[in-house]
Amino acid sequence: MAQAAVKMDEPELIRAAQKGDQRAFEQLVRLYDQNVLRLAFNLLRSPEDANDIYQEAFLRVYKNLHTFRFDCSFHTWLYRIVTNLCLDALRKRRVRREENTVVETGEGVLDRMDTVEEGRAHGDPQRQLLSSQLRERIQKVLGELTPRERMVFEMRHYQGLRLRTIGELLGTSEEAAKNCLFRATQKMRAALGDFV
């Protein structure tokens, strides 16, 4: 355990974790877990589902870390696991059609779209009404995107990943990821264009 207390860089952490150093594994998790949780939470909008993805992703990493051979970056390896899990969850959800804007947070029940209203229409009833309609539309159109379109949009818009990286993570080309993003933004513009 003592060796993980020393500041290690990522490859050192991975090697130590592969040898069974739990603290090194935990430090490795903490390099990425906030972004993983943010991705899952924003996509699935449910703390329980986001937690499920978090647990499953890092448990898979833990169980299979010995197979990681540094052929790609650890970030790529981890995100392949996470995006596959999220896509599966989105596909299941698409079947169930259970999208809901109301989420439970540590601070209580929250409508995630309230942030749009606060940011855009403070103090102006007419703009508040418009903003409320806009958030409903954003909600609806995000739910209508295919899981793959939703994932590409999420990774480009919210995670800030380049299309080349997104293609690599999803096992496709940069061009295919670009087309997917294009379709997603076209659908969103068609549904929301008259609001802005």
Binding site: G20, R45, K63, R120, F182, R189
Partner: protein, 307 residues
Amino acid sequence: MKCEEARDRMPLFLYGELSFEEEERLETHIDECAGCREALGREKMLFQAFDAAQAVPSQGLLDNCRAELRGRIAQVEPERSGFWDKLREGFSIHFHFAPGWMQLVGALAMLVLGFAAARMTPGSMLGPWRTAGVAGEPVTSRVRYVEPVASGRVQIVVDETRQRVLSGYLEDQTIQRLLLKAAKDPSDAGLRVESVDLLKNRPQSAEVRTALLYALQHDPNAGVRLKALDGLKEFASDPETRQTLTQVLLKDDNPGVRTQVIDLLIQHRSEAMVGVLQELMNKEDNDYIRMRCQKALNEMNASVETY
């Protein structure tokens, strides 16, 4: 470039995903076309609406995820890179580019070696095939000392760290002692957050309260300080706690912590606070804290400034 094509490319333009030439063509068109300039403005507004609609998980959710993961991992043994993996890896390097017949020879050689190795390899090297009961085995080890001894033998002193899973109630002395230790672990802020989060449910214990006061004053991580503060809420009228809160209010560099502290302090007003609040008014930059401070001073009929 036509307007329709320009508008189709606007999202990719805003994401910075167009090639240099495509971007040049689009910018040239936008310079010349008022309608597309307006459309680009609308596209930017749409992007801002998406930004504002992002759901950010709370720190509490992240803390819970981390705690649950730690518990689940304690019950799982990772597959380790064992003898067979290394052997397989070695062969894949040597025979990867070899012609088919050599790969066949390699495979046969591996099979023969496999039988031989299985007979010769001690159980501890078999990685995934190890027997259960890991808890008692060393997790890490470090050679501390080596020394040649008589008749060509070598003596080695090894430090071994073993892992145990303990469970119990917060009232248990062992659990509490370990939590108090973990709450001061300088190498792991996450561990401190979780430990203080558990300890804060037992502030009646003098030892725990001392640890919370220490964490509030000295922990470098604001998340840990906020958890400690949470545990001290019911002692906001206790003189020792108030003294610490006052020092934190004047010294803590995190406005979130100072905001919580002032809210707590002014719940139980006293004349002794006037000087502190006046000092705070002179140095505080945060508008909310200044407002709370000014309101409290006004309600105590005290001047907001010192002369």
